[in-house]
Every structure is written in structure tokens, then in C-alpha cells.
């Protein structure tokens, strides 16, 4: 069975490295990007099953990335988990409105984050197979 691929987008390379280690240990394949532009390019090329997205990014911040993903039919179904140091009070609702599946403030609880990743991957797959509310 192929491993689900997760795209990690963060402008701090040290954080990307740590996240890559943890995700690989949890049996995921990992792609990375450190700015908004390459995040979109990588999403198109690598077709990840899930994206972990920082908000403060050069070359198109996290909200721009969310908007681009939502507007691209082929990418709109990819669950995005926002992982940001920004204040949730002023950013969480905005991120969810823009299409994020969940918002975590840094530093996030690893177990909780891994759990939401698992559930999001599961429900994204289920949503693809299921016709919601048949008439």
C-alpha cells in the first residue's frame, strides 16, 4: 500500500526538517515547500493527500495559498491543516472560512496534530467515495 503524501509548507527550514522526521516516523511520505509560490507548484506536481500550511510565508502568504488551492478544481479537495504562530482569535476563523480543515497554533501538541492528520486523510478519502445526502 502506498504511503499518503503530506506537503509541509513553512518558511523555517529547521521546522520543516523536524516535521519531516516526525511525519516519516508516522509512515507518511513528505514533500516540502518554504514559500507560497513553491507550495502551489508542489501541490500541482506532487498531488499530496494533505497539506500542513504556515500562514506567514514569503511569495504569497498562507491565505493566498488557501485561496489558490480552493480555486483550482483538482486541488480543492486536499485537506489543509494550518499550523501557525499567529493568534487564533484573529486568524482561525479566517483560515477556516478560506477552506482550511483545522487550525493549530504553534507549538502544537504532536499527538493531537497526528490524530487530526489521520482523521482528515480518512474523511477526505471517505468523502470521495460517498455520495452525500442522496435524493
Amino acid at each position: 500500500m502506498t504511503k499518503p503524501k503530506i506537503l509541509v509548507v513553512d518558511d523555517d527550514p529547521d521546522l520543516v526538517r523536524a516535521m519531516r522526521l516526525r511525519l516519516r516516523a508516522n509512515n507518511y511520505e513528505v514533500a516540502t515547500a518554504t514559500d507560497g509560490y513553491s507550495a502551489i507548484a508542489s501541490a500541482q506536481k506532487d498531488r499530496p493527500s494533505l497539506i500542513i500550511l504556515d500562514l506567514g510565508l514569503p511569495a504569497g502568504d498562507g491565505f493566498v495559498v488557501l485561496e489558490r488551492l480552493q480555486n483550482a478544481d483538482a486541488l480543492a479537495g486536499i485537506p489543509v491543516i494550518v499550523l501557525s504562530a499567529r493568534d487564533p482569535q484573529s486568524n482561525e476563523e479566517r483560515a477556516l472560512k478560506a477552506g482550511a480543515a483545522a487550525f493549530f497554533q504553534k507549538p502544537a501538541d504532536n499527538d493531537e496534530l497526528m490524530n487530526v492528520i489521520r482523521v482528515s486523510l480518512g474523511s477526505a478519502a471517505a468523502a470521495q467515495q460517498r455520495a452525500p445526502w442522496p435524493s
Binding site: 522526521l21 504562530a85 477556516l96 472560512k97 507549538p107 504532536n110 442522496p134
Partner: protein, 541 residues
């Protein structure tokens, strides 16, 4: 010299006095334009349309007298300087006026042209300075907020890096670590978490200070929150060998409160209590109703710690307060926790206080307002001073199709709640506020003074309207259940108020029982059975 025209609004009902003041004004050296009205209401209307440089105000007008006159003018136009022109040499009234923001208090008989001109000029200057000061203070507060928000963001980034790598090591993902090394790393992690909590408190306190702290109230059962707080802090208590007990009155009514915020207060108080209680001591968390205050629930956290001195008691809820005696072993925060608790409780219209004697332990108590279903139910379930024969309780349940829900779930259910509100039959029918801690599923209750047959029209309308919400079918499942509640025959000697209270208690219990049911499971094919409308009858005794 400033030759800009000074516009004066003169509010004076005596035509002779008005002419005299006008004469004094035009005699002056500076250009001035005067408009005169003789009633307070006309003055207020004029201030709505135009902003003069200054208001010259007589206090005794046909439609207002004394201090009330300047209070209403200043409430209406807080940025316009007001100079009182009075016939009364009343020093007490003059002081009162100045203390409340009037720029000057002049006696009509004493004013010369030069005197009046100068008084107006100074009044305008002083008001301008005050305004500038207010703006500066506001800007400083805004700057402080932005600064703290920026700093906390910048501090979180390296903190996250430390957290990530330490947890990698602790979890053994970067190779094996010895038990000793693991212990050391856990100590680092504890400090990282403390730093994180401090940053969070700092932001929270700033928010409280600038009035930006928000609560989202729901109808909640406190018992659930109390157990949640205890479960979260049980490991800390066990580690310190401190007993942690809970005592909840089973008949506790629902409260209207923000569950996340109340949990924050509970965790803060219980965590503090554990911190200040020696090994083998105990911490007790209780919730009860007090006869003397039937509108509130009292939540108390007591400990068997060393107690609080009277001096500390007076300051303990202030920002940055830390008990000087506790620095050696218990200091781990910024001293903002209790300040934040106080602000959260205050936003709920509750009170918080501490009672303690040194050496005798402490009890922190706070109150939350009871959600009085009886008051809201009365118009729905009574008719001509008697109980109706029956009413209908409709339960609308939205369960997200995915977990976590897709998109902005809060926005989705709030939109649905608004639609349900628009679908009710009569104005007096009720849609209760959101119930329970906000979990994945959201349940709304409608109380309608109708019968089961006719309620069908309403539930059909609710369903049809909800189905018009774009993407709702993809986002969640909908279940509507209707229960007809039969009321006992009235006129059995009990006052109507008591009968209504009895019904309200029963309805509260029905709602609570209904909330305890597990939400419909998702993701296993049950999504196809989306709308289940069941109808049943319940007899209240």
C-alpha cells in the same frame, strides 16, 4: 493671533441674556459667528447637524435644569467644549460641572467682552489638548497591543523549534535516549510549555484590558465541565499526592456561559489550588445553588493549603500580582491567571472572590447566571393564566459529514440556527440558544405552542429552508425530531408560576437526556439515511 472664526452655539432661553452675550461676543477682537437656540432639545438637534467651536450653556432651560443640562450636552457631543453661563453663583454646582468635563463656569453678571473671549479661547485649547491626549492614549494602547501580538508571534517561532526537536528526542525519533536523558529532556519540555502559557496569558490579558476579550455563550451543564477540568488535572494532583474531589448538586440548572472560557477559569483555579496545597492535602471542586441568590450557580474551589494573607487577598485578582511568599517554589507564571479569570467571569455577569485565613486553606468562588427556561417558557406554555394542554418540542440536529468538519463549521451551524429562527410559527415561540459544549454535532431546540399535527408544517418548512443552504447536504446530516409534551391539567391549587417552573424543570431534563445521546455516527454508510423525522408524545407529571 488666530483669526479663524469661532463658531458659538449659545443655548439660552432668556432673550435679554442671549442678546447681552451676543453683544459681548461681537465686541471682541476675534471673528465670531453665533447661533442661538432657547431649548436643550434644539441645542442637541443643532449639535447633530453641526459641530461648533464651543457651546455656551445656560443651565436652566424650559426642557432641562441644572447638572442634567450639561450632562446631556456632553453625552451628545463629547468632543465639543462646553462653557456654562449661569445666573447662580453656586460653587458646588460649578465644581460638579468642572469635574464632569465642563471647561468653565461663568457668572452671567460678571462677563466682560475680553473675559468671555479669553474663556472661550482657553476652553477650546483645553478641550483640544484633552482630545489629543485621549487619541495618544488610544494609540499607545493600540501600539502596545500590536507590539505584544508581534512579540508573542516572534517568540513562538523559536519556541516551536525547541518544542519540535525536544519532542523528537523524547519520542525517540532521533535515536535512543537513556532514561536520565529522557528525564532531562522532559524538564526542558516543561519549561517550554510554561513559556508558551506565559505568552498566551500575556496576549489574553492585553485583550481583556483593551475590551477585546469575547465570549460565546451557550446553554451548558456545568457538571460536564467540572468533570472535564478534574480529568485534565488529575495527573498533576496525583503526581503531587494531592486529593482532588468533586461535589456537584445533581439538580444543578443549566447556565448560559462560554464553555471554553469557563473551563479555562476552572483549570486555572484548580491548578493554583493544587500548586499551593502540600502533599496529602486535598482540593475540592463544588457547584451548588444558594437560596439567597436564586439567579446564580456558585462554583467553589477549596484547598487545604497555607491560605492567603488579608493583604494578598486584596490584590490577588490584579494584573501581575504574585504572592511574595511563593516565589521560592511555586512561581511559574506571570501573575496574570487570576486577572484573566476575573475578566472572564465579569464578561459572564458573574462575580469572583476568595475567602481564606492564613494556615486554614483558601476557597475561590465564582458565580454564573442561571439560564432561566421558566421565564422564557411561560408565554409559550400558558394561555389565559392557565397551562396549555400541550406544546411541541422540536429537536434539530446537524452532524458534520466529516470529522473534523469541512470548511467553517461554526459559520454553517450559525447560518442554520438563523434559518430555524426564521421558521418558527409565532413570535412567542422559542428557539433556545445553542446547547451543550460545542462539539462536532450541533443541536437546536424549538419550543412551539402548537399541536403535533400542525407542527408538521413548521418542521417541513425548517427542512425545506435548510436544504436551500448551498453545500449543506455535502457538509452535514440533518435529523429533525418532534415530541409533543402533554401538560398536567391546571388549577390544582398550585400557583401558575410554580407549575411553569415544574414544566421548565422537566423540559430541561428532557433536553439534557437528549444531549447525552451519542450523535449519529458518520462515515459508515449511514449518511444515506439523512432525514429521520420521528414523532412521539410525552406526558409530564
Amino acid at each position: 493671533m488666530n483669526h479663524k472664526t469661532t463658531s458659538v452655539l449659545l443655548i439660552e432661553d432668556n432673550p435679554g441674556d442671549a442678546d447681552l452675550v451676543r453683544l459681548r461676543l461681537v465686541e471682541g477682537k476675534s471673528p465670531v459667528s453665533v447661533s442661538c437656540v432657547n431649548r436643550l432639545s434644539d441645542g442637541l438637534a443643532s449639535l447633530t447637524k453641526e459641530t461648533p467651536s464651543v457651546v455656551l450653556l445656560d443651565l436652566n432651560l424650559p426642557d432641562s435644569h441644572g447638572a442634567e443640562t450639561f450632562r446631556r450636552i456632553m453625552d451628545h457631543a463629547p468632543n465639543v467644549p462646553v462653557v456654562v453661563l449661569s445666573g447662580q453663583d453656586d460653587e458646588a454646582l460649578a465644581m460638579k460641572a468642572v469635574h464632569q468635563g465642563v471647561q468653565d463656569y461663568l457668572l452671567k453678571g460678571d462677563i466682560s467682552s475680553k473675559h468671555l473671549e479669553r474663556a472661550i479661547r482657553y476652553a477650546v485649547e483645553r478641550q483640544g489638548l484633552l482630545r489629543a491626549l485621549e487619541i495618544t492614549q488610544k494609540q499607545q494602547l493600540e501600539f502596545k497591543n500590536r507590539f505584544l501580538s508581534h512579540v508573542s508571534h516572534e517568540l513562538r517561532t523559536p519556541l516551536t523549534c525547541i518544542h519540535q526537536y525536544v519532542t523528537l528526542l523524547v519520542d525517540g525519533l532521533a535515536g535512543p535516549v537513556s532514561p536520565d536523558q529522557s528525564d532531562h529532556l522532559k524538564t526542558v519540555l516543561k519549561s517550554v510549555n510554561q513559556l508558551h502559557a506565559m505568552i498566551r496569558d500575556l496576549l489574553e490579558a492585553t485583550r481583556a484590558e483593551s475590551g477585546k476579550m469575547r465570549i460565546e455563550s451557550r446553554c451548558i451543564s456545568l457538571s460536564e465541565l467540572l468533570h472535564q477540568a478534574v480529568a485534565m488535572l488529575r495527573p498533576t494532583a496525583d503526581e503531587k499526592k494531592v486529593g482532588l474531589e468533586i461535589g456537584v448538586d445533581q439538580r444543578l440548572p443549566l447556565v448560559l456561559a462560554d464553555p471554553d472560557r469557563v473551563l479555562e477559569v476552572l483549570i486555572n483555579l484548580v491548578d493554583n489550588a493544587i500548586k499551593f496545597t502540600p502533599a496529602d492535602g486535598s482540593v475540592m471542586l463544588q457547584a451548588s445553588i444558594v437560596d439567597a441568590d436564586p439567579g446564580s450557580v456558585y462554583i467553589a474551589v477549596s484547598d487545604t493549603g497555607r491560605g492567603i494573607s488579608p493583604e494578598a487577598k486584596a490584590l490577588i485578582f490584579e494584573r501581575l500580582y504574585q504572592d511574595p511568599d511563593s516565589i521560592d517554589n511555586n512561581r511559574s507564571g506571570l501573575g496574570l491567571g487570576l486577572f484573566i479569570c476575573r475578566e472572564i467571569v465579569r464578561l459572564h455577569d458573574g462575580r469572583i472572590w476568595v475567602s481564606s485565613e492564613p494556615g486554614q486553606g483558601s476557597t475561590f468562588t465564582f458565580t454564573l447566571p442561571i439560564y432561566s427556561l421558566a421565564k422564557l417558557l411561560a408565554p409559550v406554555i400558558t394561555y389565559q393564566d392557565r397551562l396549555r394542554a400541550s406544546f411541541v418540542l422540536v429537536r434539530v440536529e446537524l452532524t458534520p459529514a466529516t470529522n473534523p468538519p469541512r470548511g467553517n463549521w461554526k459559520e454553517t451551524w450559525q447560518q442554520c440556527l438563523e434559518i430555524v429562527r426564521r421558521c418558527i410559527y409565532l413570535d412567542k415561540d422559542l428557539v433556545l440558544p445553542p446547547m451543550g459544549t460545542s462539539g462536532a454535532a450541533e443541536t437546536f431546540f424549538v419550543v412551539a405552542s402548537t399541536d403535533l399535527e400542525r407542527s408538521g408544517i413548521m418542521t417541513t418548512r425548517i427542512r425545506e429552508q435548510l436544504e436551500c443552504v448551498p453545500d449543506l447536504k455535502a457538509k452535514c446530516m440533518l435529523a429533525i425530531t418532534t415530541v409533543s409534551v402533554q401538560l398536567p391539567a391546571s388549577g390544582e391549587g398550585e400557583p401558575l408560576e410554580k407549575q411553569v417552573q415544574g414544566v421548565a424543570d422537566c423540559v430541561t431534563q428532557m433536553i439534557l437526556r437528549s444531549m447525552e445521546r451519542k450523535p449519529v455516527s458518520v462515515g459508515n454508510g449511514s449518511a444515506g439515511k439523512k432525514q429521520r423525522t420521528s414523532q412521539s408524545r410525552t406526558q409530564l407529571n
